[in-house]
C-alpha cells in the first residue's frame, strides 16, 4: 500500500466516523427527557414565571419547531461554518468561549504527557534491567497502583498534602504559560501529575516488557559476546530500541489523556474546554455542552489520525491496517 493511499484510506474511514459523532452530539440534546426548551429556561410551561414569548424564541432559536433531520442539517451546517450558537448562560457566542478555553486544555495535556514519560521511562527501564529485584517489584507496584488509582481521589490526596498541609502548590487556578511561566508551572504541577499517572503506569508496564524482550534478543547476546560493557549493551542497544516502540505507543495513545481532563479540570479549576463542559452541564447550557463535547471528540480523533500518519511517514515498517 502506498503512503498516499494509506492516508487517503484513513481519511475516508474518518468521514463516516465524523458523521456518526456529529449525529451523536446532536442527539445529546434531543434525548433530554421532557421538554428541553423548558428545562433550559428552568421553568415549566405551567409555572408562574413562564414567559411564552421567551419560550417560543428559544424554541425557534434551537430549531425545535422543525423536524429532526432538518434540525440536524441546519445544526451541522452552522457547525461547519464555525457557528456553534450562543451560550444560554453567558449569552456569548460559544465559538468564542471554546477559543478562549481550548489552549488551557492543550497545555495541560502536553505537560501531563511529559510528566507521564518522565515517570514511566526510568521506572520501566530500571524494572527491566533489574528484573526480579526489589526495584522491579517497586516499579511494578507503582504501575498496578497507578492503574487502579481514580484520578479524583489522587487529586484530593495531592491537594490535602501539597496545598493544605505543606502549602507548596495552589489547589486551584491557572496562569498563562508564556506570560507567567513560574506561576504556570506551580499551577499545572498537580493537575498534570493526576492526569499523567494512569498513563505513566501503563507506559511503565509496557516499557518494562519491551525492554525485557529486547534484552533477550540475539543482537544483545552478540554485543555481550563481543565483550562490550554491560552498561553499553543495556543502555546503548536494548533500552534505545525499546524506547522507540515506547515513543510509538505513547504517541498513539497521547490523545487518550484528553479523557481525564473533565475530572482534572473541574477539581483544579483549570479553565479548559472540559471544565467549560461541566460548568455548562450544571447550568443546562446545552449549546455549549454540545460544542465542547464535539470539540473534545474532534481533537481526540484528529490527534489519533495525525500521530498515526506521522508514524507511518517516519517508520515504513509500521503498517497499520
Amino acid at each position: 500500500m502506498t503512503l498516499a493511499r494509506y492516508i487517503g484510506g484513513r481519511l475516508l474511514q474518518l468521514i463516516p466516523v465524523l458523521f456518526l459523532v456529529s449525529v451523536g452530539v446532536f442527539l445529546l440534546v434531543q434525548i433530554i427527557p421532557g421538554d428541553p426548551v423548558a428545562i433550559m429556561l428552568g421553568v415549566s410551561p405551567d409555572s408562574a414565571g413562564f414567559n411564552k414569548d421567551q419560550y417560543d424564541t428559544l424554541r425557534h432559536e434551537l430549531g425545535f419547531d422543525q423536524p429532526l433531520y432538518e434540525r440536524y442539517l441546519s445544526w451541522a451546517g452552522r457547525i461547519v461554518h464555525g457557528d456553534f450558537g450562543v451560550s444560554l448562560k453567558s449569552r456569548r457566542p460559544v465559538a468564542d468561549l471554546l477559543f478562549e478555553r481550548y489552549p488551557a486544555t492543550i497545555y495541560l495535556t502536553i505537560v501531563a504527557l511529559l510528566v507521564s514519560l518522565a515517570i514511566a521511562v526510568p521506572i520501566g527501564v530500571f524494572a527491566a534491567v533489574r528484573q526480579n529485584t526489589i526495584f522491579d517489584y517497586l516499579g511494578m507496584t507503582f504501575s498496578l497502583v497507578g492503574l487502579a488509582m481514580p484520578g479524583f481521589w489522587l487529586a484530593l490526596l495531592l491537594i490535602l498534602l501539597f496545598s493544605l498541609k505543606l502549602g507548596w502548590f495552589p489547589a486551584i487556578g491557572y496562569a498563562a504559560p508564556l506570560a507567567q511561566p513560574v506561576d504556570f508551572l506551580k499551577h499545572v504541577a498537580m493537575p498534570a501529575i493526576v492526569l499523567g499517572t494512569s498513563f505513566a503506569a501503563q507506559l511503565a508496564r509496557y516499557l518494562r516488557a519491551e525492554t525485557i524482550e529486547q534484552l533477550h534478543q540475539d543482537y544483545v547476546r552478540s554485543a555481550r559476546a563481543w565483550g562490550l560493557p554491560p552498561r553499553t549493551v543495556i543502555f546503548k542497544h536494548a533500552v534505545r530500541n525499546s524506547l522507540i516502540s515506547v515513543v510509538t505507543v505513547a504517541g498513539l495513545h497521547t490523545a487518550r489523556l484528553l479523557g481525564g481532563t473533565p475530572i482534572v479540570e473541574s477539581i483544579f479549576g483549570w479553565p479548559g474546554v472540559a471544565s467549560l463542559l461541566l460548568d455548562s452541564i450544571y447550568a443546562r447550557d446545552y449549546p455549549t455542552v454540545q460544542a465542547s463535547v464535539l470539540i473534545l471528540a474532534l481533537t481526540y480523533v484528529t490527534l489519533n489520525l495525525v500521530v498515526d500518519v506521522v508514524y507511518h511517514l517516519l517508520d515504513p515498517r509500521i503498517r497499520l491496517a
Partner: protein, 304 residues
C-alpha cells in the same frame, strides 16, 4: 483508531491494563514470573470477594443506619464509636462505605452485563459476516470510541438527566466497543479454523455455528474483558457521582461521598481518604483478578 498496536497496551482506560508479565524465556525466570501473577490474582480475588461480602451482608455488617443524620456529631475523626468517623451530616462513614459497596457492585455488574449483551452479539456478527455488516458495525464502534474516556459517559449522563437508568446507560454504552471489538477479533480467529469450515461443510446454519461453535471459544477472553470492565464501570460510576452526574444524595455511593466531603477537605481529611481507598481497592482487585485470568485463559493476549 488503534487497531493494531503492539500487543501489550490496550486502548481503553485505566481498567484495561496491558501487562505482559510472563515473557522471560529463561526457564528459571519463567517459573518465578508465572508464580507472581498468580499470587497477585489470588490477592485480587480476595479483595473482590471481600467487596462482594460487604455488598451482600451490608445490613448485617454495618453498625449504623447509613442514612441516619446526626448533625451534632458531624465531621468527626475516627473513634471507637465511629471507626471511620462521620460525614458532613453526621452519618457513620464506615456504614456508608459498606452500603456503598452494594451500590458499586450493583451498578458495575448491571452495566457490564448490559454493555456485554449489546457489544458481544455486535462483535460476533461483525466478525462472522464481514463485509458491509462488519464495516457498518465497526464504524459505529469507532464513533463511540471517538469520545475519549469519561467524555461519553459524562455527555450521556448529562443528557439523560442523572438517576439510575442514566448511570447504567452511560457506563454500558461506553463499554460496548470493548466487547464488540474483542468478540470480533476472536470470531475472526476462530472462523479461520478447520472446525468452522467442517461445520459449514456439514451444513450447520450460520446461527448454530456462531452460537454452538464460536461463542464457547470466546468465553475465556470475554471473561477476562468482563472482569477488567468491572473495574472500568466502577471508575466511571464513581467519577460520575463525584462530578454530580451519577447518584444523587443521600445514596451511599463512594464517589458521591468524596464529592460531599471535598468542600470540607481541610476540616476532616479522613472523610476523603476512606471512600477513595474503597474505590481504589475494588478497582485494584478487579484489575489483578483480570490480569490473572488473562494469563490463564488468554495466554496469547487477544487485542482489544
Amino acid at each position: 483508531m488503534s487497531a493494531s498496536l503492539p500487543a501489550s497496551i490496550s486502548p481503553s482506560g485505566p481498567g484495561h491494563s496491558g501487562a505482559v508479565l510472563a515473557r522471560a524465556p529463561r526457564a528459571r525466570l519463567r517459573l518465578r514470573m508465572v508464580a507472581l501473577p498468580n499470587r497477585l490474582a489470588t490477592l485480587g480475588a480476595a479483595i473482590v470477594a471481600l467487596g462482594l461480602v460487604m455488598a451482600i451482608l451490608a445490613p448485617v455488617l454495618a453498625r449504623y443506619d447509613p442514612y441516619q443524620i446526626d448533625v451534632v456529631h458531624r465531621l468527626q475523626g475516627p473513634s471507637a464509636a465511629h471507626w471511620f468517623g462521620t460525614d458532613t451530616l453526621g452519618r457513620d462513614a464506615l456504614s456508608r462505605i459498606i452500603f456503598g459497596a452494594r451500590t458499586t457492585f450493583e451498578v458495575s455488574v448491571g452495566a457490564v452485563i448490559l454493555g456485554g449483551a449489546a457489544g458481544i452479539p455486535l462483535g460476533l456478527l461483525s466478525g462472522y459476516f464481514g463485509r458491509l455488516v462488519d464495516a457498518t458495525i465497526m464504524r459505529l464502534m469507532d464513533a463511540i470510541m471517538a469520545f475519549p474516556g469519561l467524555l461519553l459517559a459524562i455527555a450521556l449522563a448529562a443528557s439523560l438527566g442523572g438517576g439510575l437508568v442514566s448511570i447504567y446507560v452511560a457506563i454500558a454504552v461506553s463499554t460496548i466497543p470493548h466487547y464488540a471489538r474483542l468478540a470480533r477479533s476472536v470470531t475472526l480467529t476462530q472462523k479461520a479454523r478447520d472446525y468452522v469450515s467442517a461445520a459449514q461443510v456439514v451444513g450447520e446454519s450460520n446461527f448454530s455455528i456462531l452460537f454452538r461453535e464460536i461463542v464457547p471459544n470466546c468465553l475465556g477472553p470475554l471473561l477476562v474483558a468482563l472482569t477488567l470492565d468491572f473495574a472500568h464501570a466502577i471508575l466511571i460510576e464513581s467519577s460520575l457521582s463525584f462530578l454530580g452526574l451519577g447518584f444523587s444524595p443521600p445514596t451511599a455511593s463512594w464517589g458521591l461521598m468524596l464529592r460531599e466531603v471535598s468542600p470540607f477537605l481541610e476540616l476532616q481529611p479522613w472523610e476523603a481518604i476512606f471512600p477513595g481507598l474503597a474505590i481504589f481497592l475494588t478497582i485494584f482487585g478487579f484489575n489483578l483478578l483480570g490480569d490473572g485470568l488473562r494469563d490463564v485463559f488468554d495466554p496469547r493476549h487477544y487485542e482489544l
